[in-house]
């Protein structure tokens, strides 16, 4: 009993000392802390378990990949200083010398082989980045050969998303394979990290706060361009839009990754706060059931109007995308007529052309197709996944209703929404698509290939669009290289524009809001890299 009382007294005293300390902190050492907020919290600290932005945005501060992304998303040496396709099917990577993990282990070829192997495990969510890898062969401590099942021209692009971890550390802590979030298991790596990166994990309280401290021994500080001066990053998830903005305005946080669009004007006007604007590699479009002979959620029986290209054109031309851009997106979108934005390899300006907005023409097309009175249909929509997703759907429903296509919006949170569309249980739906590899194949293969046995083909093609010409082009994209491949992609983009498997809407813009004294490069992958951040 006495011990407990003493413990309490001690804790209290420490608490008070800590309060006093907190009061003095700003004046003391040159601590430059950034308090950062966004809506979601990472659900694990395991580097190969969850392939989602909220996890990556924290882990990329802690872990390094072999190849890093520059400010313009081009590839740059990371833990590998050089890489070359020695022969088709074999890439050779030369590793950086003298790199140490946060807990002191030296980084080497064994760690690379281990990390790739780990990302290949079934419990990993990073399969798409290593799918072509057969195995990694350690040549010497600083050289590693990666053998692929088929020649893979874009392997370096993919490896820029795979973090390297210490083999010895992972094995010592029984985390040789990624955490299986599916089997409700908790591994050492769920809450602990040991990377080679610019910051190390200082403390973490899931859903409340995650604190990162600067790793002064990081190899990259010596590399030109990495001139950040932030010594501490405090991340706090704030789910409510209004609260997040209020916190930035009242000075409780310094950096908001995802400010709501409607508050940008106010944030820009607020003293001491600035907004960085930039595009994101994520495109929003509508996709529809192009497979069934009768739509599930429409009032036309015995036929599928979407199979008629005139109906698709009509719906396309009924959308006043500029009004959506101006009002709902408040100027924060890049209106598009194609599948992906210009940052993605294969983008072709001449294919990025929309069918013009023309409600009269749309009505005429509908009548031509045999629907002079229009029809009724349900538009499936997520309401917390993309920027203003639900509002966009409601805008479109109103626009379609005006040409006679009476549209009911069914909006749901992302969990039930994805569960539903993944059963192909939809007639028309809104989707957003990001391209982490920055290569066209990723989009074409997942969204437009006929769903078949082949790995990754059509896994997000819930309208079951199927066009042999498109499939042939996609298969060619997988193996071709150089200018031939670029031509193939252009050809596929032309077909996309003519065939209208989707109704493209826009690419998202992702404004970041922060205190004026922070300088940080805006990134199209929506990842803040604090190694480049300067606080004055």
């Amino acid at each position: 009993m006495r011990d407990r009382a003493r413990g309490l007294a001690l804790a209290f005293a420490l608490g008070m000392a800590w309060v006093a300390g907190a009061g003095m902190a700003p004046g003391a050492a040159q601590a430059r802390s950034v308090r950062w907020a966004a809506s979601g919290d990472p659900n694990t600290m395991d580097p190969h378990s969850q392939n989602v932005g909220t996890v990556t945005m924290v882990l990329q501060q802690i872990y390094d990949p072999l190849i890093k992304r520059e400010r313009d998303l081009s590839l740059a040496p990371g833990l590998a200083t050089a890489w070359v396709q020695a022969e088709p099917g074999r890439w050779r990577f030369t590793l950086r010398d003298g790199v140490k993990f946060h807990e002191g282990e030296a980084f080497g070829a064994e760690d690379v082989a281990f990390s790739l192997q780990r990302a290949l495990q079934p419990t990993s969510n990073f399969g798409i980045y290593v799918d072509t890898i057969e195995r990694a062969v350690v040549v010497d401590p600083l050289t590693v050969d990666i053998l692929t099942k088929t020649p893979d021209p874009i392997l370096p692009n993919k490896l820029a998303s795979v973090f390297m971890m210490s083999k010895a550390w992972a094995e010592r802590n029984n985390a040789a394979r990624p955490q299986n979030t599916r089997a409700r298991e908790e591994l050492f790596t769920t809450r602990n990290t040991n990377g080679t990166g610019a910051y190390r994990l200082a403390s973490r309280e899931p859903d409340v706060r995650t604190v990162l401290a600067r790793n002064d021994a990081w190899w990259g500080w010596a590399v030109e361009g990495n001139a950040g001066n932030v010594t501490e990053i405090v991340y706090r998830p704030i789910a409510s839009d209004a609260t997040r903005v209020a916190a930035l305005l009242s000075g409780e946080v310094d950096f908001v990754l995802d400010p709501p669009l409607q508050d940008l004007g106010r944030l820009r006007a607020a003293p001491g706060v600035k907004v960085l604007e930039g595009p994101e590699v994520r495109s929003i479009f509508l996709a529809m059931d192009l497979s069934r002979d009768e739509l599930l959620y429409a009032d036309v029986k015995g036929t599928n109007p979407f199979k008629d290209i005139r109906v698709r054109r009509a719906l396309y031309q009924a959308i006043d995308i500029q009004a959506i851009h101006r009002t709902t997106m408040r100027g924060q979108s890049v209106v598009t007529g194609t599948l992906f934005p210009e940052q993605v390899n294969g983008y072709a300006k001449e294919e990025d052309v929309r069918l013009p907005f023309d409600a009269a023409r749309a009505r005429a097309l509908l009548a031509e197709a045999g629907y002079p009175q229009g029809f009724a249909v349900t538009l499936d929509c997520p309401n917390n996944r993309y920027i203003n997703d639900e509002q966009i759907c409601q805008n479109i429903a109103a626009m379609w209703s005006r040409i006679g296509v009476r549209t009911a919006v069914k909006s749901q949170p992302l969990a039930p929404f994805f569960a539903q569309v993944q059963r192909d249980d939809t007639s028309i739906y809104l989707l957003g698509w990001g391209v982490p590899t920055l290569d066209a194949l990723y989009s074409f293969q997942s969204l437009l290939a006929t769903r078949a046995g082949a790995q990754g083909d059509g896994i997000w093609n819930y309208g079951r669009y199927s066009n042999p010409a498109m499939d042939a082009l996609i298969q060619r994209m997988k193996v071709e290289t150089g200018e031939t491949r670029q031509a193939t992609i252009r050809e596929a983009l032309r077909l996309y524009r003519e065939d209208i498997p989707h109704i493209p809407l826009h690419h998202q813009m992702i404004p970041w809001a922060m205190r004026s004294n922070i300088t940080i490069p805006h990134m199209a992958n929506n990842q803040p890299y604090f190694r480049w951040a300067v606080v004055n």
Binding site: A242, P260, Q262, D263, R266, A323, A397, A398, R402, V409
Partner: protein
């Protein structure tokens, strides 16, 4: 007051009406409540626009401020929301749904509560013990939690398409079912008193059926407190619906109630488009406050000891 026959008419004429006239707050709240109810009920006739007709919406009209401010438009007296919908019309139609849910929920809980209370009080014994035990258990949980639970169970039990169609009834049921024990307890208490009075015993002796005794002799004598509880509960029911809608589990967004309008408008509160959330909020408060004031007055007026 023309209607002077019957006990209710006499009471209105003499006591209630007098105390009503004497209290300016009550008169004002009655007027406000009347405006709210008329605006809601007659929305299809009075509202300047039909917010449910998608084909009339124009995104170009979005975010118009109220008519009296600089960029206002006389066609939209209280401004427009993010979809270009007239806020005034949306409020009138929204109040309609809020009121519908509130009234139906109260009627539902009144019927259940009065029936249970009458039976428990009149029959007594094991039936009484069981019914009141259930009421006790339910009273220990706050009604908002019960409503959340009921709503959730129904959501889990029926497919989504079905749920969308019956969502309104589910909310009514969820809110109504959470309030019946108050009625039951009150009615039971009054019934216990009435049951042993001589006129009831006399009625029983001359062979009038139990049900008839309950309905014709006992029921009228317990209506006063029931009326008070019902009025006070109406305010709570409307608020409960708004809270459920704010948490995203209330009425479907295709038929927005005042609570839904506030939730949606809340996103725009800090960005300067305050009218989208403030006006529905004011309407909600006006409606609930006036109903509560009327309920308060009614309780005091019917309980002469407090005067």
């Amino acid at each position: 007051m023309a209607a002077q026959s019957g006990p209710l008419g006499r009471m209105l004429d003499s006591d209630l009406w007098w105390s009503f006239k004497r209290s300016p707050v009550t008169v004002v709240s009655a007027v406000v409540a009347l405006i709210c109810i008329l605006g809601a009920v007659l929305a299809p006739l009075l509202a300047p626009h039909d917010p449910f007709d998608l084909a009339t919406l124009n995104l170009g009209d979005a975010f118009k401020p109220p008519a009296w401010s600089q960029d206002g438009d006389m066609a939209f007296p209280l401004g427009t929301d993010d979809q270009g919908r007239d806020v005034l019309s949306a409020i009138m139609y929204g109040a309609r749904i809020s009121l519908l849910v509130g009234v139906c929920a109260v009627v539902f809980s009144t019927i259940v509560g009065v029936a249970v209370g009458l039976v428990a009080g009149y029959v007594g014994g094991a039936v009484d013990g069981l019914l009141m035990r259930i009421a006790d258990i339910q009273l220990t949980f706050p009604s908002i939690l019960i409503a959340l639970l009921v709503d959730g169970v129904v959501r889990a039990a029926v497919p989504r398409e079905v749920h969308d169609r019956i969502a309104l009834f589910v909310v009514i049921f969820a809110i109504g079912i959470s309030a019946w024990p108050q009625f039951a307890r009150t009615v039971r208490g009054s019934t216990l008193v009435e049951r042993n009075k001589e006129y009831v015993l006399a009625a029983r002796v001359i062979g009038i059926s139990q049900i008839r005794i309950m309905l014709t002799h006992v029921l009228p004598n317990v209506l006063g407190p029931v009326l008070v509880i019902a009025t006070l509960n109406l305010g709570f029911a409307i608020l409960a619906e708004a809270t459920l809608s704010f948490l995203g589990v209330g009425v479907p967004p295709t038929e927005p109630s005042l609570g839904t309008l506030i939730r949606i408008g809340n996103d725009f509160l800090f960005s300067g488009e305050w009218w989208i959330t403030i006006f529905p909020g004011v309407a909600l408060i006006a409606m609930v406050l006036s109903v509560n004031l009327l309920g308060d007055w009614l309780r005091d007026a019917l309980n002469p000891r407090l005067r």
